[in-house]
Symmetry: C2
Subunit: 340 residues, 2 copies
Amino acid sequence: MATSPDDPFLLSHLAEVRAAAVRIGPYVRRTPLLETDVGVVKPECLQVTGAFKARGAFNAVLRLVEVDPGLRGVAAVSSGNHGQAVALAARRLGVDAVVVMPEDAVPTKLDAVLRLGARVVNEGVTIENRDARFAEVLTDTGYAPVHPYDDWDVIHGQGTVGLEVAADHGEVTQVVVPIGGGGLASGVTLALKALVPGVRVVGVEPAAAADAAESFRARRHVRRPAGPTLADGARPAAIGARAYEVLIQRGLIDDVVTVEEAALAAATIVVWRGARLMAEPTGALPVAAVLAGAVTSGPGTVLVVSGGNVDPARGPELVARADPTLVQAGLGLGLRAPGG
Amino acid sequence: MATSPDDPFLLSHLAEVRAAAVRIGPYVRRTPLLETDVGVVKPECLQVTGAFKARGAFNAVLRLVEVDPGLRGVAAVSSGNHGQAVALAARRLGVDAVVVMPEDAVPTKLDAVLRLGARVVNEGVTIENRDARFAEVLTDTGYAPVHPYDDWDVIHGQGTVGLEVAADHGEVTQVVVPIGGGGLASGVTLALKALVPGVRVVGVEPAAAADAAESFRARRHVRRPAGPTLADGARPAAIGARAYEVLIQRGLIDDVVTVEEAALAAATIVVWRGARLMAEPTGALPVAAVLAGAVTSGPGTVLVVSGGNVDPARGPELVARADPTLVQAGLGLGLRAPGG
């Protein structure tokens, strides 16, 4: 399996990630690396639109506009964060956007997509029929589709997270990322494995949507519809074909771990109270893995908090669902730091 | 009034702030300057203990230990954030800490002080009797008191916020800070006015605790007990004597504005949802001033989000108390950015 930094596959993708960084630079934020009481965090909740998705969406839409300067619009399927990202990219680049969202999408995410000026198609849209509805939208509008994860331009955009981690952390040994469709995980893996010899990349997903963990163990592309989970960003039934190639076939990811919902709720509360960052549950997956003991964190470990689009009114619900022992342990993490 | 950067009063305090920065450097975080959808933010909620108070407390306790290497302990009166700061400083420097807190202090703040290993005295403690109880504690223990704001060492510690803003923002024209006892406001003012010719400093307090605004208008040291307010960190009945000298007598602060509770609740929600930072209501005062139109913000304006110690379970209460028009306006702020 290719893990040498001078592997041509890694080097060519690294070049694309670097090109993406230049392309999207004027439109997205270079998020800082933060030392927090829960560990070293890459806070993509502070990214424009509140999630890393802006990186991939801008890279993809900018590429579409480069190829076709007459492009009228773009279209996306999204439970929320990718929709916001495509809506913002379209707005900034002067093209139209249509976002197909499930009828039961998180209301704050729906509001945000509308606020960004996109047209939303959500009436009667379910997880089951949304691909068909999306196909209709593409036919009706002639707009270009922007896939939320299974697209190299999107993956290279997300890979800029890894580029920044490598640049800002002189001694990174491990990066922990949420896995949904695998766009972030594969982008970050491509950039980091090319830049930092020996670095570990670990993916985290909810136990209720453990298709990637199963794919990792079985070394085949497992598809399994997600059960109910707080991590609405990690619900794809399978990682994308490109992520499968990068992470599993080429063996570039070092581990995929899963966390239970009570640990995930606890981690969300711990990020809010201990790191004072507004993470959505999906974004708290790496911290959940640390709290649950599935990942060992230290000064060389970077936890990617991938997004922060969550309704603050859900605080009591999250507190109620959280494992209280893990909340207390999480809030004490800072005291275990050197000299703490 | 002294506003010239070569004023000896400013220069001698600037030297003390610089000395404080060196002294506390190993113990506190250099928080980044963040571009967010609500403006440029100095996120002291990301500071150790979740508030700027750690800067002043470390500077004061380090000075006490310098002067008396045999110091056994320190004591503080605090509704929460100063108590956490003194508790952490004592823990890190190997001395004892006692914190006198009102019996009705915010539970998450009480928990945090206890978690940091301080002894808490809160049984029967009210706003009215706490100074007397504190005097008893000092007599009983012989520990050194650390005032939450009316102490030059504390003020110089808080001033390091201003030092960092001046260093990180090449074109700062205005800094907006919450005012409670005036320690942060006076420290930041001393540092900034010495470093950045023409910079404006504006203080914000809740209308329910508008003693500083009244002092500013009347040019005398007004004392007025606070009414009920979400901003539990801005409740002192008067700013300290040292803050009064800096801000009012020497005329170094440019304005003090007040905000209503519905604007403050809205600002807290807007910081959570729009900036994805966990601010406590006191920390959201500068954003509230922008939302309410009392302060005009732009790329040269830095909003100091002073702290982030808040119970996430209070989300629904804050949503219910927030002015919904201001929430919607606040969430749309990012779209008014250049090219947005």
